[in-house]
Structure formats: C-alpha cells, structure tokens
Symmetry: C2
Subunit: 406 residues, 2 copies
Amino acid sequence: MFKVNENYLKLPGSYLFSTIGKKVAAYTAAHPEKEIIRLGIGDVTQPLAPAIIEAMHKAVDEMACKETFKGYAPDLGYEFLRSAIAKNDYQDRGCDIAADEIFVSDGAKCDCSNIQEIFSADCRIAVCDPVYPVYVDSNVMAGRAGEYNTVTEMFSNVIYMPCTEGNNFSPEFPKENPDLIYLCYPNNPTGATITKDELQGWVDYANKIGAVILYDAAYEAYISEADVPHSIYECEGARTCAIEMRSFSKNAGFTGVRLGFTVVPKELKDADGVALHGLWARRHGTKYNGAPYIIQKAGEAVYSEAGKAQLKEQVAYYMNNAKVIYDGLKEAGFSVSGGVNAPYIWLKTPGNMTSWEFFDHLLEDVNVVGTPGSGFGPSGEGYFRLTAFGTYENTVKAVERMKTLL
Amino acid sequence: MFKVNENYLKLPGSYLFSTIGKKVAAYTAAHPEKEIIRLGIGDVTQPLAPAIIEAMHKAVDEMACKETFKGYAPDLGYEFLRSAIAKNDYQDRGCDIAADEIFVSDGAKCDCSNIQEIFSADCRIAVCDPVYPVYVDSNVMAGRAGEYNTVTEMFSNVIYMPCTEGNNFSPEFPKENPDLIYLCYPNNPTGATITKDELQGWVDYANKIGAVILYDAAYEAYISEADVPHSIYECEGARTCAIEMRSFSKNAGFTGVRLGFTVVPKELKDADGVALHGLWARRHGTKYNGAPYIIQKAGEAVYSEAGKAQLKEQVAYYMNNAKVIYDGLKEAGFSVSGGVNAPYIWLKTPGNMTSWEFFDHLLEDVNVVGTPGSGFGPSGEGYFRLTAFGTYENTVKAVERMKTLL
C-alpha cells in the first residue's frame, strides 16, 4: 500500500503565518468589536501603481482579440520582461547578467522553496537563525534537514548561523562547511543589512569551499544607504557561486499579483562540471508553465519611466512607516533595530517575555498583530518583527498603542 | 563541494515540446517564406470569452483602489472560486466533493508534476504508454523512476501500461502492484476515453491494492458522449483512492492565463492513516503563494451563466476542428482514432514511418507541425498526435495539405 513522504511529518507544527492567522481569527471571533491592526505578515496595503494598472488593462484587451491573444508563455519568461530585468536590475548597476540568465516565475517564495530541488540530497544547508521559514521547511520536505530536536528546536543536519545582538545580526562563517548557504539581504526578519565588503567576503568564502549562495534579495528596493549592495552580482566572483532570487511583491506591491525571478549565471557548475543553468531550465520546462502574460506585462510596466517614479513613491511611503515605528518605539524605550534599509523592524520583547507571550500580550491588550521572532528560529526567541506595510494611519495608531505597554 | 541532483541527469534529452519548438524554429529560419500550421502543442488559439475579459478588467480596477486592493491570496484559493468549482464541477454532477477539498493552483501541469512530492520515495508508479511526459519526468527528478534504458526507452522502476490498437488504447491492470497510478481521461495523447464502468473497475482495483489514482481530467470539457464520466468521483469509493487534477487551459482557453486545481478528498489516507489532504495543504502553504486574484476572478467568470454559454461555443468550435481532422484524414485513408470526446486525434503514421520521420516529413513537405507519438513513450512509436486547437481555417488547410501525402 502507498505511503506518504515521511519527511513532511518531521515539520514542527504548521507554517508560521497560518498559526498567526488562526490566533487572530480566534481573537476576532471572540471580540468582534475590537479594531485589529496587522503588522504581522509582510503583506502590502497600497493599491497597484497607475502605470501597472494601465499595462494590465491593455494586456487583458489583447487577450480578448484573436490577433493579439497569447497562449502558453515561453517556459522561462517573455523576452520583453527578461530583457527589462537584465537591463534595469543588473546591467545598469554594472552587474554582468544576461537576459537568458533570468528565469521568470510566479514569485520568490516558490523559487526559494523549489531551488533546493536541483541539488543533491546529500548537500548540507546553512541558514541564518532567525530565518524565513521557507528555506528550512522546503529542505525538510526534501529529506535534507535530518531530524527535529524539540528541545533545541533545530534540525540535526542543518547548519544554523545565529544572528543576535551580539554579532549585530550578522552571521559568521560556519565552523563546518556547508554546500548551500541561504542569505537574505536586506534581511527578513531582522531588517539588518550587509555592506558590499562583507558580502564580498561571503562570495570569496563560497568560492573557496565550493558552496552555492542562495541569495534572496526580495527587499532590495528598500535599500537607502550607499554602501549596501543591491545584488550579489556586484561582488567579484559571484557568477561562479551565487543564485539570486527576486520578487515584485515588495517593490511593486505584487503580493496578490504573483511575479518573481531567479538569476542563474551560466558559469555556476557543480563538482562534476554540471551547469545549474540547464538544470533550473529543465525544472521550469517540466514542472512549471510560465507566469501569466497579463502579469508579465504588469512586470514590464514596473520598469517604465512612469512605473519607476510611482513605485519610488510607494516604497517611500512604506519606509516612512518604518521610520514611524522605529523612532516611536525607540523613544518609548523599546530596543529596536532594522527599518533603515528594510521594511522590517526587529524589536526585543520587553520584560523578558517570550516572543509568543509578547504576541498574545500585543494582540489582546492593544490589538496589534506582529510576528513572534521565535517563529523564525531559536535565536529569534525574545524578539518580535513588525512590518512597515500597513497604512500610515494604522502604523501611527499601532505605535501609539504600543507605547502604552511600557 | 556541492553536487547537483543526479536524478536530473537521468532524463533523456530535453522536454518533448522544447525539442519540437527547436526543430520548427530551425526550419522556419531556413525557410522564412513557408507558412507553417501548428497542430503540435496543445495550445489554444481563440481569444478569451467576453465574460472572462469583463471579470478581469473589473478585478484589475479593484487592484487600483485602496479599498478593494488584494494582497496575498488565501493559500488554497479564494473561497468564491473553490465554492464555484465544488458546486459546478462536482455537486451538480452528484459528486460528494466539498469546497475545502479543492486546492486552486496556477495550472494542472504544476499540480501533476508536484503531486508526487507528498508520496514516499519508495512508491512505485504506473503510467499509460504513451503518456503525458510530465508524469514520468517529475518522478525521474524525484528519484522514483530508476534507471533509463536507452534500448527499451523505459525507466527500470516505472510500470508501463501499453495502450495500443490491440487493446483499443485502454490499459489493462498491471501485473505488479503499483502505489500510484496515473490515469488521464479524456486521454492525452491518444484522445481515447473510458466508460463509467471501466473507471469504476480502476477505482475498485486501487482500493483493493491500496493504490492512489492520480486522475488528470484536463480535457473533461470535451466529453460529448453520455457514458463517459466527467470526474472520477462519479465512481463509488473514489474518495478513498483518488486525487483529481483539472485545468482551465482547455475549457476556457487559459493556457496563457494559468489556473487549475486539484481535489484531495479528506478520507484519502496512507497505510499509516496519514491524510493526504493535510500534506497537500502543507505543500501549498510552504512552497506556493496562491494564484493571482485577477486570475481567480477570471476563473469565477467561467462558471457564470454568460461564461458557460460562451465557453460551450468555444469548445464546440474546437470540436468541429477535431471532426474536420478526423473525417478528413479518415477519408484520405489514414488510420485515425480519438477526436470524439477529446481535442486530440491519434493517427498511425503511414508507410511504417517512425513518429519522428513522419514529423520531419510533415514539417518539410507540407509545413504542418504535429507531435510524434514516440515522444509520449515507446508504445507511441508509429503514431502521431494532432490537436484541434488551431483556427478552423488552418485546420481545414492542414488537412488538405496532409491529404496530398498519401
């Protein structure tokens, strides 16, 4: 008789944001009169920019007409979008990335979770701790993580790189050599960043030990400081050791539109000389069928002059929220970090509360929803994530409410 | 140093439709003056129906407005779409399927290739031969298929169920017991169908041996005969042994829009009592981020009264093409089958040509593109697939051209 993939049974509890959703739903059901402010899940609230709306309407009209109707998209994305990405996100920044090294997808979450599939089951992964749960969970499902220890809350075969106040939320090279290194900058959940020199250090390290860096740059648009790299390909040697994943969710508000991409340079080869570019292309061709034409046209509009100007404003709106949270909570006496080059504020829970205790406290006492740091890994315990993606009005209100907690 | 997933290296050649694409591109480059008619890949040519276009414009406008903007979709699909599917595709046909057993996705190709992931690596799969390549290739990538034999063109650990003229393109129960049985009706590539009694036989067989049937019903809308089941859940006992996958690509022309769904009944459990419903939900929650709101609204419009009427016409248009091909080629002396409950015509290559020989012959001599039967498996050798998804004018022209071949 058939059996299930037993690796799935090793996953502890449910996906973090599902748990939060259930808790909030239960509270709302019991207190329907309360006005909840959600700064938990990193979901945007501003409507799509006019240039994007216009492009989508136009694309919908094309689908209505025999002469301009589009069937299956090219497996790896339309040329118009791949070229716009290569030019704007890479070549204009001096990064040597060609259009045919861009793989368009329905979002960075899918790419982040699927990318492990092209690697050997024996590869050891290293992740920051705390970390976006998808990196670890997708490897658990693939049988690469080992066994879960309920005391340490760690998997036996995963190399954890703690990011704490002690190291300024910046991981050190691990003691054991990993094969795959997940890095996310600007960081989710801590909002920390990395300088170009520091990132160059990781690239050199990866090339030296023969590891691949899986670089999640979903929050790139929020970088405000000059010394922070927008892409790992700004570093020398990254073409032989790095895959970069990007999203349109946060720079263009596409969380409900779904568009992202992954960059796989052609030089990136394993110990036997097998190129990852061809493997990822094969995965796309076999297990994916392209992003919708309408959505890819929306993506193209992100790079138009009008789109760029409108989205700069949108990002500024959220970054102002980040400043409101950061300044307000700091002034109130909270210990906060992040929020300068990232839409996330990372705060220490007051009074030695655990992350989930603080979550309940915040939800029940002032009706604000955030994300418990421990949900991102054991080193996140005692921390809490707030996002800047609310409306300005709600953000101000949430901060005022939180001030009453101290 | 890191290594790749070596299972990928076991895949023979490239994905079938990529190979065809390259051959056609090379021919077109060499003969730019020739007018090629494409009846190869199953891609639609009719524009989206007006009801769908209207729904999409409306949804785009909602995304433009703060009050109606939608961020992340619910992991498993919007309630409005899941309910419409459950009602129209199942409950109205007397099938006991609830809305929360519907998992909305970006297409049946993704679901068909991802579904194997929730099963043990030890599960043995059985497939029809010829077969949609994605079923086998996704299992090869997961290491479940064994080794490829270049002589037999079969994988050592896959149970092949030949579908030939001899058994009227209807597979027999395999001699060895499989754990996962892929069935596709109406069938791609042969266009064959199954009666309700025959399908009940498969359900009984699966329940008896403890196997799961992965039932691909992507072409359900093309069923024209009364005795052909539209869903496997029309059979008694299917809730304990069957997963059904459906697509909007062929009933609504969504090949470039991307929408599909998978049904996982809650009773479906493995040898240890683990429910597949929860596992598939966990996969969706961890490795997928929902279909775009705009696309799900388009899906909802498929079930509106206007949408239903418009799509009935669209399907009739393609089925008329199928009749043109079937009747025309039969009259010309070809041996043909399919085309009555499916948009595919399966023909025997004339003069003992191999499938690829006939492909080249057809491309070079009359500039018509089809799909070589051998691309779907060894028992497809000597056969050829034509699709009804072209325009009427091109379909008539292609048949006229093909008549000159005999």
